[in-house]
């Protein structure tokens, strides 16, 4: 079910990247059918243009790699759910209804139910175990676009929703992009005032004064933003450092939606240093067969305040 999007750029033999870089020979992108505005084909084109790496677009990760035993898979996914965001992950046998819920989501990948938080570390481990051995190599970069929200438990004693979790594979959460970085502070005040006055949260009314100031569900800017996060995942894979300090670089680790929009929508470019890294990646010779290493299980995530 793979759709090849690209061919690689011509590589110059003179450029040799640092020995500790892991430049993939191929990028596999996994679609998120729940998102109406995510165009993964465009992201694949961007990977070719920016990094010169061939890229294919696959169906959603679990449809592609999930295997025939859907109930076992649903159980494994449900086991990664965060039950209490104020405590570190506590393993628990999933409830019957949780497994049924995941089964329904697996059966209908276009369905998006973002009310649940999943432990990023365990979720990525589950995905990694599903990858076939021939693809579980640093010569292949896997980036899955997902509607589920992944979170990490941080030093401040609570879970935070993430837009991207860089690891092996990496996940860019289309819901996490909306819920992870904080919206304008005034939005939360308006939301609180309206909910006190009305006894409910009129999300659409609360959002109205801030239209355009944050990425919303099915936002037309989603593909641009997701491309930047996918690049962060790629840089993590290659250099082990996904983020950049420059707020105008697409690798900037935005904690606020305003920062996200500045880096991904307004600037929409890499900083000079990362452009040079991208050029070196694009010019590099592909690694010889047999030199590939197994991926490590570490991870980095972005970003900031979760709900």
């Amino acid at each position: 079910m793979a759709r090849t999007a690209t061919r690689g750029k011509r590589r110059s033999p003179s450029a040799s990247p640092p020995a500790d870089w892991d430049i993939p020979r191929v990028v596999h992108l996994y679609a998120d059918p729940s998102s109406g505005t995510l165009r993964v084909g465009e992201i694949a084109d961007h990977f070719r243009d920016e990094l010169g790496i061939p890229c294919d677009v696959r169906e959603d990760f679990f449809s592609h790699h999930g295997g025939p035993d859907r109930e076992a898979l649903a159980r494994a996914i449900a086991a990664t759910r965060v039950r209490n965001i104020m405590r570190p992950f506590q393993p628990m046998e999933p409830l019957f209804g949780e497994v049924q819920f995941e089964l329904r989501l697996l059966d209908e990948p276009a369905k998006r139910i973002p009310g649940i938080l999943y432990d990023a570390y365990r979720y990525l481990r589950l995905m990694r175990e599903l990858l076939p051995p021939r693809e579980r190599t640093l010569r292949a970069l896997h980036v899955a676009f997902e509607h589920r929200i992944l979170g990490t438990f941080d030093e401040d004693g609570r879970y935070h929703a993430r837009a991207v979790v860089c690891g092996y594979p990496s996940v860019v959460s289309t819901s996490g992009i909306v819920e992870g970085p904080a919206k304008p502070a005034a939005y939360y005040k308006v939301k609180a005032q309206l909910s006190i006055a009305l006894g409910a949260i009129p999300f659409d009314a609360a959002k109205e004064p801030f239209k355009g100031q944050f990425i919303d569900y099915d936002d037309p800017r989603l593909t641009r933003v997701a491309t930047g996060y996918a690049l962060q995942a790629a840089m993590y894979h290659i250099t082990k450092e996904p983020f950049c300090e420059d707020p105008d670089c697409r690798l900037f680790n935005a904690h606020w939606q305003a920062e996200l929009i500045r880096a991904q929508v307004q600037s929409h470019r890499l900083c000079q240093r990362h452009r040079e890294i991208a050029r070196r990646v694009a010019r590099a010779e592909p690694p010889a067969k047999g030199l590939s290493r197994e991926p490590a299980s570490g991870r980095r995530e972005s970003h900031g305040r979760g709900r």
């Binding site: 209804g97 009310g115 006894g199 409910a200 999300f203």
Partner: protein, 265 residues
């Protein structure tokens, strides 16, 4: 000339007794028992009755409707997010659009319409009756509920040493709100777990409630806010769309479990 026709005190007593015992006799064994007469329980009862499923709602309070009478902070305007307003259309309850996708209606109007709609459809309601326990059958499948008068629970045990009675059914719907009493009863026996409500409060939480509505244990369907506390889902505040649609989903699940095809309305 008197306004009212002649009767006697004894005849009034006989009429109450006859009506009550007839109903109790009928639902001592029924297809579905809905524990909790809030919005999700009432919608489930109505939908099941419309599909010819014999059901009874057990409600511990004298009043039916749970939290549907009032919105937040004791203010009696209730809110619903689209598409839940369509259910108000179905039961003939007026509402107004407050903003894009958000609708408001007076709680007393919506609640009384919903109660009437459930009863018009054929649902039975047993109020002032508290759920005490579950009835278990082979393989620990839930096959009924144990009930008692609510006042019995309110008085000291030495005064009200009243044994409960049991009602049998094929399915129980736990629509008891945040407490999830039916799931709690299973939890006490080590048969089920309840995670408690979660802390994340995001825009799409209501969807998660509806999507988690369903079988939680053999013989038990969980609906409404009981879904939140069973699965640790975020509380969504005083907005009722998810309650109505969760009740509808619970009825659909029950129909499937009973092997019935839903009738077209």
């Amino acid at each position: 000339m008197p306004i009212f026709g002649e009767s006697s005190e004894a005849e009034v007593t006989r009429a109450i007794l006859a009506g009550f015992t007839k109903d109790l006799g009928e639902y001592a064994s029924t297809e579905v028992i809905i524990v909790g007469g809030g919005p999700s329980g009432l919608v489930a009862a109505r939908e099941l009755a419309l599909n010819g499923v014999k059901n009874v709602v057990i409600e511990r309070n004298n009043y039916i409707g749970g939290g549907f009478w009032i919105g937040g902070y004791l203010m009696n305007t209730v809110t619903l997010r689209a598409p839940a307003q369509k259910y108000l259309d179905e039961i003939g309850c007026p509402y107004k659009k407050y903003s894009e996708n958000l609708y408001v209606t007076p709680g007393p109007h919506a609640c009384s319409k919903l109660i009437a709609a459930a009863m018009d459809a054929g649902a039975k309601i047993q109020n002032m009756t508290s759920f005490e326990d579950i009835v278990l059958r082979e393989k620990n499948r839930v096959a009924g509920v144990v009930i008692n008068w609510t006042p019995v629970q309110a008085l000291p045990h030495e005064i009200t040493c009243v044994d409960p009675i049991a009602l049998e059914c094929e399915l129980v719907i736990d629509a008891t709100g945040h407490d999830a009493y039916v799931i709690q009863a299973l939890e006490k026996r080590g048969l089920a777990k309840r995670i408690g409500e979660g802390g994340m409060w995001i825009e799409k939480s209501e969807d998660a409630v509806v999507e988690h509505t369903g079988i939680a244990y053999p013989g038990v369907i969980v609906a409404g806010m009981a879904v939140c506390s069973t699965y640790g889902l975020p509380r969504m505040g005083p907005t009722f769309g998810a309650m109505l649609l969760s009740g509808k989903r619970a009825a659909e699940t029950a129909l499937k479990e009973l092997g019935r095809k839903p009738k077209k309305k």
